[in-house]
């Protein structure tokens, strides 16, 4: 009592050499390294020869400053503070955003009532909240964590809510036909269907957690990488400013790797693009 499976795509094995498999990637990476090296050398040459190094510093000074800060621990304590703010802010904002998005979007009337308010709050530049947060929470770590969290919250909230509201009606009906309760629908359809939205929200909000934390530090603080930038700039120490920016780009790079991992997870049940 079985039928032949219709003609579909056929999977075949491919014999490829190492170069065929990784060649393009290797070329891209090699070019990146060369480009970076060329830029650094040009910078080093340009400093004081063409442009005053008070403004642009020079790579060797920056490396020196990094080594110096690394040795006396300035670099590590301040980086650690900022990383903590990012992580706590992200976790807090993401958890609250996902929960609020899921709950509110499931209640149609409530969602419709609150939607314009949420959009209005979302549209406020989060930097503008910093002075208020200082009044409320002081200039300690709490204020930065909350500033990062607020930024993350709205991004995750909006994406989750969109995910919940775009769930295919047909899938919900399918579960109703199987005798599913509202709980079954929420757990077996709405939750997995909105996961794409949640993860998109997490993905786009990771860099914003960094922005929120650093802006908080720039506005008012006595610790953290944002403080380090302010402090160095106040003393015309451009090498110090650049050194901090290097650290921030490294943190951003690491965070982007996480983003990439999440992206891969999002698309697990979707067909491979390549």
């Amino acid at each position: 009592m079985t039928i032949a499976v219709d003609a579909g795509p056929v999977r075949v094995g491919l014999e490829r050499t190492w170069w065929q498999r990784h060649g393009a990637t290797t070329v891209v990476w090699a070019t990146r390294v060369v480009l970076l090296a060329v830029l650094l050398v040009l910078w080093e040459i340009a400093a004081d020869r063409w442009i005053d190094s008070t403004f642009i510093s020079r790579p060797s000074d920056i490396v020196g400053r990094l080594a110096e800060w690394s040795a006396d621990g300035t670099l590590w304590t301040n980086t650690w503070i900022t990383v903590q703010e990012i992580v706590y802010g992200f976790l807090l904002g993401a958890a609250a955003g996902a929960l609020a998005g899921f709950v509110l979007a499931s209640m149609n009337l409530v969602y419709r009532v609150l939607d314009p308010f949420m959009m209005a709050l979302y549209s406020i530049p989060k930097v503008a909240l910093a002075p208020l947060f200082i009044v409320w929470f002081g200039i300690g770590m709490h204020m930065k964590v909350l500033l990062a969290a607020v930024t993350v919250f709205f991004l995750v909230f909006l994406n989750t809510a969109a995910g919940v509201r775009e769930v295919d009606r047909g899938l919900i009906d399918a579960v109703r036909l199987m005798g599913g309760t509202r709980r079954d629908i929420a757990r077996k359809v709405v939750l997995p269907a909105s996961m794409t939205g949640v993860l998109t929200g997490l993905k786009v909000s990771i860099p914003y957690a960094l922005i929120g934390a650093v802006i908080g530090e720039l506005v008012a603080s006595n610790r953290g990488l944002g403080y380090l930038i302010n402090d160095a700039a106040a003393q015309f120490d451009t090498a110090g400013v650049f050194a901090t920016l290097v650290v921030l780009s490294v943190i951003a790079g690491v965070l982007n790797v996480f983003v990439g991992l999440i992206g891969r997870r999002v698309n697990r049940w979707k067909p491979a693009d390549d």
């Binding site: 032949a4 499976v5 049940w269």
Partner: protein, 260 residues
């Protein structure tokens, strides 16, 4: 014998602004237990609306649907419904999709796995258990949908142009398979299609719907089973029935006699 599924003067209106669109008007239809009823009609005659109401997904605006003499007020697990579009969960592989009705019913995981595996084999998807719906062709998704519906072991099956989007060969193949699965199962089937040939090939009884669900023709089909599409095409009885149905469908066509 009282019918297993009955529509009693059902009307369905869809409100749109200040007016309402009437999809069905006072349609009455009795479905006898164990019969295979095909419903034919042009697009927009309310076939899908009728099935949605028979499945308990949408309530009629007036009149009532009765299932085994009870008023149907919501979906019933005794009634399986294969919709026109795929409603497989894209994040579940084939096996877990087929398991779903059992999962909701609270069947233990080992048992539902074995039932689902057997059903997947039966619809010809053996070897594709771990594939996600998007990795399957349209025909394979239909089979998976069919397997999922059967997993709930419903006694009444509603099907809304289930093979509409498939190529001709595949369609014939699945039609035959459906007949094979149905014969001797005692299940009642309501099968909606716009294809007269399909309606005649499958049904014990053909109902032709006109605009707003007016029944233009309701007729028993006595063609001998098992039926084969190739032989039927040259059968004089089939040709006569085909003519009768298409005349019935055409009679209604140009019109504008009944606008609501």
């Amino acid at each position: 014998m009282s019918p297993v599924l009955a529509a009693d003067a059902v009307t369905k209106r869809f409100a749109k602004g200040d007016s309402a669109i009437v999809a069905l008007r006072e349609l009455s239809l009795d479905i006898a237990e164990g019969s295979f009823v095909t419903v034919v009609g042009r697009s927009g005659c309310g076939k899908s609306t009728l099935l949605n109401m028979l499945a308990g997904l949408t309530p009629p605006s007036a009149g009532e649907i009765r299932y085994r003499d009870h008023r149907l007020s919501g979906p019933d697990t005794q009634i399986g419904y294969l919709t026109q579009h795929d409603t497989l969960m894209p994040w579940r592989d084939v096996l877990r999709n087929v398991e779903m009705p059992l999962e909701i019913r609270g069947v233990a995981s080992a048992e539902r796995r074995s039932v689902a595996t057997e059903l997947v084999q039966r619809v010809g998807l053996g070897g594709f258990e771990k594939h996600y719906p998007r990795e399957l062709s349209g025909g394979m998704r239909r089979r998976a949908g069919l397997a999922r519906m059967l997993a709930g072991s419903p006694e009444t099956l509603l099907m809304d142009e289930p093979f509409g989007a498939l190529d001709a060969q595949l369609r014939t193949e699945l039609q035959l398979e459906l007949l094979r699965l149905w014969q001797g199962s005692g299940q009642t089937v309501v099968f909606v299609t716009h294809d007269i040939e399909e309606a005649l090939l499958l049904g014990d009884r053909v109902v032709v719907l006109g605009r707003v669900g007016r029944i233009l023709l309701d007729r028993e089909i006595a063609l001998a089973r098992p039926r084969s599409a190739d032989e039927l095409r040259v059968d004089p009885e089939f040709v006569a029935l085909h003519g009768e149905l298409s005349t019935a469908l055409k009679r209604e066509s140009p019109a504008g006699e009944e606008r609501s």
